[in-house]
Symmetry: C2
Subunit: 285 residues, 2 copies
């Protein structure tokens, strides 16, 4: 067991998907696969149940995850113990409010561990060096570097009658009170989907929306990653497959800040393949 394996484990735990974890770790999928297999052998316990779409953590994985995170964090802390940077570059990132927080934090890790960067996170509509947003919010003069795509799901109170169904249709939703996440870029669309003008409640942030759902006020349609973290909320698929593409938006007209160049390079590199090394080793002709 080494720290590399722990990082892979944490990524799989977060993504619930070996392939996606491979992308966030910038390695190929088999690397993750064998690492997890080895880890399971060493610990003498199964960590993930493999099924058709992705993997599910076992109880052991839950337990192990807490410890693994501590070790990873402490290792990162140790690395930067003595790097008291005299001059830190300010880097401002605009984040849309509907982002999956743990996933985003994990994505930004390469930036946060660099002690020569002072990271500042602001709203998606403020001045920033780059923005992490849904593709639908992309401005005219912006490049888009895709990060992940997310489906929208229905978040219901655990005791809601609709939890009996595996998948919800527009007609189902029409009969029950809904919560309008007015900060979401697809808010209007969901209004039409549920065939209504008025909502049971309006929430201005994901936290409020989730709290209203948990309190039994109504149903909310939210990005998968947002709903995932809450234990007292039931998640159901919706029949109409709404997805959003989340990515990094960079102004095309303004040259990229130095601090971001490596980062964006890596992100672009992983798009088609997860390779770690340059695609072709240099060979003189």
């Amino acid at each position: 067991m080494d720290i590399r394996e722990l990082r892979y484990f944490a990524a799989v735990y977060r993504e619930r998907n070996l392939t996606a974890a491979a992308r966030t770790c910038f390695v190929s999928q088999p690397s993750i696969s064998t690492a997890i297999t080895n880890l399971e052998a060493e610990l003498g316990t199964k960590l993930f149940i493999r099924h058709k779409k992705g993997v599910a953590p076992t109880a052991s994985a839950e337990q192990f995850h807490a410890l693994a995170c501590r070790i990873i964090d402490e290792t990162d802390a140790a690395r930067s113990l003595f790097r008291k940077p005299s001059t830190r570059t300010n880097l401002t990132l605009g984040l849309m409010r509907t982002l999956d927080v743990p996933r985003t934090i994990a994505l930004l890790k390469p930036l946060t561990v660099r002690s020569d960067i002072a990271l500042r996170l602001v709203g998606h509509d403020e001045r920033a060096d780059a923005r992490i947003i849904s593709k639908s919010m992309l401005g005219d003069d912006e490049h888009f570097v895709p990060l992940w795509s997310e489906r929208y799901v229905a978040a219901l109170p655990p005791s809601h009658p609709l939890t009996l169904k595996d998948r919800l249709r527009a007609a189902d939703l029409a009969e029950y009170p809904m919560i309008d996440r007015c900060h979401c870029e697809q808010s209007q669309f969901f209004g039409r989907l549920a065939q209504r003008r008025q909502s049971a409640a309006i929430a201005q942030s994901e936290d409020w929306a989730m709290a209203l759902v948990a309190a039994g006020i109504g149903i909310a349609i939210v990005p998968e990653g947002v709903a995932k973290g809450h234990p007292d909320i039931a998640i159901r698929e919706i029949e109409v497959k709404v997805k959003r593409e989340v990515g990094l938006a960079c102004r095309a007209s303004v040259p990229l800040v130095d601090a971001l160049k490596d980062f964006v390079g890596k992100l672009q590199g992983r798009a088609k393949s997860g390779r770690h090394y340059p695609s072709k080793p240099f060979r003189p002709a």
Copy 2:
């Protein structure tokens, strides 16, 4: 930075000596050397000052050591999280009372992390599967597997007049009160060395002896490793070079307990060289 490097670092910190650290890690000295160099480069700080005899940790190393230990311990804990052993073999080790505690704990690590072993530590004169003792205490029917050799040094109160000298002679010691560590196998010898019959105080354990020294009662002659850990005690070499060989004693007449076989094998293997792999890779003739 990976856990392997942290282990090497901890070993060097403990031993104050790359070569000795290499032995305790069962690797060769250059492996330790390069690992420390790399670690220093990665952290951007010098960790050890190399000098003629061994190395001395810098302030950075002190700081880093605390963190490194935590990470190492947590990693070991993580590894054995799910290894709830149904049946643990009892293993009893006899330890002489004058052992350097951190060093001994580090040595026994391979046994303590094995969750199929329940380690019991007893006095050196009790019934045990093996004993860690000074060579001078070796019984007739015992094998001796050398672990390390230690010089004896003088432990003085920090404000003692003799701290002005770098090295103490028998004549120096004769003029000042001394503490008799009656539990030590070399106790009588020191009595002769200091040319006296009576002592200022008698201590039955290292803890008491060190406390008496710190309190200014007198000087004690103790194994190097014992004195090292105490910040409020000054250490000086003594001119007469008394050493002791510490090792593992196994009854020759009784076959070695299974749990110990690997361990002793490793210890013997490292005696002449620190190699990790078999000395010669197998090649068919």
